[in-house]
Symmetry: C2
Subunit: 153 residues, 2 copies
């Protein structure tokens, strides 16, 4: 079922990551193939979960989401129950774009997109009232130097 990703697959993934609106014929032409193998391979990679989603990327600032914070979290609680609750709180909040559990003395990092500093504070107050957190450091982004979903394939 989970067939190996070969060089042709990688070329197709590179094209799709770059522009998913291209037609099969256009992709086929670029990689030197025809639409049938391209279509079959894309279908297989979707089934295999290599391609997880087809989406559009939006300009956050154009939508009024002008502030981006990285939040470093330390906690004293490490019980399964607390962790479960914390995890669900993060999943439920649309302003949390990323959340990772870390190795080391910082336990979690979040990436949070909000309209402004006030909106961040509202988010922060809501979060700490929901789950007990030992220590929080918020890093405010001044400039998005780079932001891509394109994985090197």
């Amino acid at each position: 079922m989970a067939s190996r990703i070969d060089e042709t697959d990688r070329k197709i993934l590179a094209e799709l990551q770059n522009d998913a609106a291209q037609s099969l014929d256009e992709i086929a032409r670029k990689i030197g193939s025809s639409k049938t193998p391209v279509w079959n391979r894309i279908k297989r990679m979707k089934e295999d979960g290599v391609i997880t989603r087809q989406t559009v990327l939006l300009d956050a600032e154009a939508l009024g989401l002008e502030a981006c914070f990285f939040v470093l979290i330390r906690t004293s609680e490490h019980e399964a129950e607390w962790q479960e609750k914390f995890l669900h709180a993060l999943q439920a909040r649309p302003e949390v774009l990323e959340a990772h559990r870390l190795a080391g003395d910082i336990d979690y990092i979040l990436k949070v997109r909000v309209a402004n500093a006030r909106a961040y504070d509202t988010f922060y107050q809501a979060l700490i009232s929901e789950v007990r957190i030992f220590n929080v450091t918020a890093l405010l982004s001044m400039e998005e130097i780079k932001s891509t979903t394109i994985l090197p394939v």
Copy 2:
């Protein structure tokens, strides 16, 4: 030119973010409209730069990129020339998925996707040999709790 985003636009953006492979008719039906306004509005939002890209999201682990690091960087250099060089180094490296210049005592944060810890070290050595950096802390992600490109609209 840069028309205001109204409620219908937001519904369309929500649908597209959720699944950009849907047909216009399907989106139109869901938001209670017809394909023409949906098509016109998508066209306008692309022209206005609200929709920046149509892409596919891939499973990093399925592609062998099993390690994710957040890198906190302090630097003593703050000259324009150094910053320019650093910026271009980051842009050129495909393993750097995000890079932000920060407010506060940490100057930059990076999100880096690589195959494993060894690959991260290779990246790190290459970076510090290119540009002078005062202090680096790497945070290793143990678990991706959440990762989305969907902005709350």
